[in-house]
Symmetry: C2
Subunit: 664 residues, 2 copies
């Protein structure tokens, strides 16, 4: 039987395991991507691993998150990251060069390659026929060091696209339709592979939009074939030589299937505060809007800004509306400016911000409490905008532009009769303004003499002890379903600058859910503490800080109904035991403050059993739980995490040759 | 004897007093300017005054300071300010429209008019032949309410300009030369008036640069004549009809004189951390530069950005250098974009930020500790950049551009032989892209029905009681000489968002000097408390928050060796008694915690005596002290401050016609 695109990508990079859904596989990684909010820690991990030089084909460190620089910390992180690129042989993408995902796609993406990124939207590169996976920073550090990436073989979910998008409907509406149908858990343990005749009308940048927000479905990644649209894209980027055709075999099949008739779609919008709350724009039209934000990796393409410019051309943003434009990259801003769209946007009253993630990750642009903000970004988790009681909607650029003009949620299909605006016919340049001047290449010379430049806010990684044989600790926090990494450890302008300073960062742990958690965690520092969670614990971003910070405060175990994949891996990577209830109803029997006891833990785990009994001494109950750790993860967990494990392994094999997949 | 320009401006607006240096004069105010960081409080003051509608010809509320929006507070302030403009009949300049000073000059400036602004760079409008004065917010609120502005008649300092600036030297170097010669106190109690043949070569925007940084000399204001350059400027802004010629009489004279031969100037630079530390660029050339910031009201003109674009055109910023561009206004960004300079700057690697004050006031762009940042902004006070140990230099756009390319402090006159860059010949458009769409006019209808929209962070101005007849209160704090308003109430990104929330703001009072002050003030809330200060108490900015916040905590009196002028006025404005020791040595006899008693206070002050006896019951001592209040200030103080005094007056004259200078 033939292979689909996902299977081909996996098969050509498979180092161990077999391609049966649920089995652990090890993949060779060709490229890595780190951004600054996660990358500082990755660089400290490379330091802790004593890496000589990156072992990948391409590793790029982007600076796109911490750009506000309200004190010295951001600038010192940038200096540190640049020095780390010199030290470890990485590319450095300067502040102002743009968001990692579109920039990586434009400058480095190659069909058929694997990409590991310390950012949950890394799967975006699937738009080019790559296998691109978002991971915790430590796993990306491992990939940079030439180690494989391990994951459970996902199911392959074939989504057949037919038809063509109608006027005023665009790629964002396709992924919102997927979220409308399947919700934020629909993609868990799956790779979404789009195929079918509808693809012919979706450009590589349209696919970027769709692949990007596959992360919001919880998918492991999203893949598209590398077809003529990808060839056209690479040609426009003057990289046609990097094109490799990668198509599913004619007789390929999928584990799960779905179909979307693109011609049947209409403008959609995700209501506050989940990307899964999708309804038609028509259903909520008329609600007052105070802010419109255009940008981010979810709608990063030249087209996405140009269509907004075309719609607002010669008109003015509503007096009440702040129209915030976040160019996704320097290159796209150059093209926008060259084609006159920058002028059009400024004339219409837009606030043009520097290129980068900006408002998407709460770096500025926080709306007023309770005031509606329409955004083309991928996520509207509560508080992510920087405003505690925010009211953020996710929509297409067309819907965003309509609201900017009217000051209300407006179906863009109403613009012709309401404001006399025809659906714009965009004339985009055939070639991009390729400009690589803000990408500093890795030094050619052996780099390991270069010095790491650490500002006062950059502290080396704290060390964590091995797993104890007995845990007896209180439940310092009990939370519900779908707790996101944003809730475990907020992002935003106040917290992000401390991402390279764990002791300080830890003070913000769970701040959005329970301000007293940190105090309670400190109070039981001796015994450590436990968190009890509902289903899909740790959804959202890949930030490993959401493990390291509570771990630093003494977290020994999370007991949950189920876990989001990346967060679950991160827990293992940093030596925190993740257990799931055998009977989910047991979740309701535990209260915050209960003391839980696990005995003979090291032996139980080391001996290969997956079931572990947890006693609740406060209620005289006991619960059956299980872990899903692989042998590799068990070894890590016993050692206290991946870094101590790798250090142990390194010292035990001292003078062995590097792994065979070392391509440099 | 003929009049100079300053005397003509004062004479035509003089409501009381005579034009003898040192005498109190009252001036009629035609226009006001408020920005958001000070304006929220001004609007709360208008609310407390129960103002019907602005009584000025033009009053404009700008939003240019708090643009980062890292949480809901900024956006809620913007909404509040817009509602206040509707309520009180002011113009509203939307976020993104730009910095108040160049925008006001372009859209509202009229030769011969007076302007009062709650921003210390208000004197910038002197570039058009206006008399423009920076004041505390309450005094601007009074001006909006149609009340006069009171000040001591300054000396007029005539600075004669001859010759023409050489290549690579520009207006910034003129004002840096003034600072090099006279330092940051050289202009105190003076109006600087430029005259002479050199003016013919200085455009109105060049004069804006020079007038703006007159504030750094401590000058009351700066004036230029309204001559053909001003006419040309207004013509380019399509406002030639607003031009009125205003020249000094041929036989005018000045109290103080100086002369600068423009042709003799060379590129200058102010070293960290004072605008007065001026040396030639040549003297410090070669020092490493990590950041270059272009923008702010000190170099806001199209020319200032265009010259940077021309210099970096076709080249790249040094890899280590962050080149940050802060367009001063939407209009200027439109013109820059139209002429291709935006494209050039982006291509050269610039980070293009939203239009506004931004890095100039520490709203982002903070450099790394100890790394050199070259800026075209007006001030480099320690920490103003947002970085505690910053190293900020002030220079011209030409010097900034040179450093951006070389990564070192570089005399721009070296660019021809060093990098083959000729001095650019700029082709600027003859007309500006006039665009007023982000300026919302005052409502035509009677506005006093419009509702003030107050977010959770905006609290009404607290009311303060009249001066009591007896004060018996402890000295909650004793401080030394030269305590600044920054030490009384800090600025910065952490504190600024609370400027419209006095109860919250008050928690930061004296935080830099004594963290326990607030607790002690609360503890003696019943009796109120006293602060004892040394010489020059309250030096620095005009922020009235430095009085309101401790007043809110119960401050009844400051007893000091001497006071800084604006802070002393602010104390009277908010009903706090300011007394000076007759014998400065008595300062040393009082200890923190001592209880001081003043009896028969109202009678003593109302009866016209200036000497007041203060008893120290903790030490059985007494001190002779005096106040320097005018009759007007005595009436205010007895009433509890300017606002209650004005309310009393209003109710006593209830149905009188509005003052004769009410032009609406």
């Amino acid at each position: 039987m033939g292979h689909n695109v996902a299977q081909k990508l996996i098969a050509t990079h498979l180092l161990s395991g077999d391609m049966t859904a649920g089995q652990e596989i090890a993949l060779r990684i060709d490229q890595t991507l780190t951004q600054d909010a996660t990358g500082t820690l990755v660089m400290l991990e490379l330091e802790a691993l004593d890496l000589d030089r990156a072992h990948t084909e391409v590793s790029v460190q982007y600076v796109d998150h911490n750009l506000l620089q309200t004190d010295s910390k951001n600038a010192e992180d940038h200096t540190f990251l640049r020095s780390a690129c010199h030290r470890f042989g990485l590319w450095y993408s300067k502040p102002g060069n743009g968001v990692s995902h579109p920039t990586h796609m434009q400058r480095f993406g190659i069909p058929g390659k694997t990409l590991a990124g310390s950012d949950s939207h890394t799967p975006t590169a699937g738009s080019l026929g790559m296998l691109a996976i978002g991971l915790g920073g430590l796993e990306v550090a491992m990939a940079i060091a030439g180690e494989p990436v391990y994951l459970r073989m996902p199911e392959i979910w074939g989504v057949r696209l037919t038809g063509e998008l109608p006027a005023w409907v665009s790629a964002k509406d396709v992924i919102l339709e997927m979220l409308r149908r399947h919700g934020v858990k629909g993609g868990v343990n799956r790779i979404i592979e789009y195929h079918g005749p509808g693809l012919a009308h979706l450009t590589a940048m349209d696919r970027h939009v769709i692949a990007n927000m596959g992360a919001e479905l919880g998918a492991t990644t999203t893949v598209f074939p590398a077809d003529d649209q990808v060839r056209d894209f690479l040609r426009a980027e003057r990289r046609e030589h990097d094109f490799v055709e990668l198509l599913a075999d004619a007789d390929a099949s999928y584990d799960v299937t779905d179909e979307i008739d693109l011609s049947s779609l209409e403008p959609l919008i995700a209501l506050p505060s989940s990307p899964g709350n999708v309804v038609t724009v028509r259903e909520v039209a008329g609600r007052q809007v105070d802010q419109v934000v255009v940008g981010s990796s979810a709608n990063p393409g030249l087209r996405d800004f140009a269509v907004v410019a075309a719609i607002v051309s010669g008109r003015q943003a509503h007096p009440r509306v702040s129209l915030d434009i976040n160019p996704s990259s320097r290159q796209i801003l150059q093209d926008l400016t060259k084609m006159g769209a920058t002028f059009t946007l400024i004339s219409a009253g837009a606030r043009l911000h520097q290129s980068g993630c900006m408002g998407c990750i709460g770096m500025g642009q926080a709306p007023a409490n309770g005031r509606n903000s329409l955004r083309t970004v991928p996520r509207n988790f509560p508080g992510r905008s920087g405003t505690r009681e925010d009211s953020v909607f996710l929509c297409s650029p067309e819907t965003a532009a309509a609201a900017a003009l009217t000051g209300q949620i407006t179906d863009p299909r109403d613009l012709p009769h309401r404001l006399g605006i025809d659906y714009p016919h965009l004339e985009l340049p055939a070639e991009s303004s390729v400009n690589t001047a803000m990408l500093e290449p890795p030094p050619l010379a052996r780099a390991d003499q270069a010095e790491l430049v650490k500002g006062a806010n950059i502290s080396s990684l704290p060390g964590f002890p091995p797993l104890p044989d007995r845990i007896e600790a209180p439940v310092a926090l009990k939370v519900g379903d779908d707790v996101s990494t944003d809730e475990i450890l907020p992002a935003g302008a106040r917290v992000l600058p401390y991402r390279s300073n764990i002791p300080k960062l830890a003070e913000f742990t769970f701040a959005q859910i329970d301000e007293d958690y940190v105090g309670r965690a400190h109070a039981c520092r001796g015994s450590g503490h436990i968190v009890v969670g509902g289903a899909n614990y740790g959804q959202g971003s890949s930030r490993e800080h959401a493990v390291i910070a509570p771990r630093y405060l003494g977290l020994r175990m999370v007991l949950a109904v189920s876990f989001a994949r990346i967060h679950w891996q991160n827990l293992a990577n940093f030596g925190v035991l993740a257990l799931e209830f055998t009977d989910p109803d047991d979740y309701h029997r535990i209260e915050q403050g209960d003391v839980l006891v696990l005995d003979g833990l090291r032996h139980a785990i080391a001996s290969g059993g997956t079931e572990i009994t947890v006693r609740n001494t406060s209620r005289d109950q006991q619960y059956s739980t299980r872990h899903r750790l692989s042998d590799r993860q068990i070894a890590m967990l016993l050692a206290g995490g991946l870094i101590p494990w790798l250090r142990e392994r390194k010292s035990s094999r001292s003078s062995q040759p590097p792994a065979s997949h070392d391509v440099r």
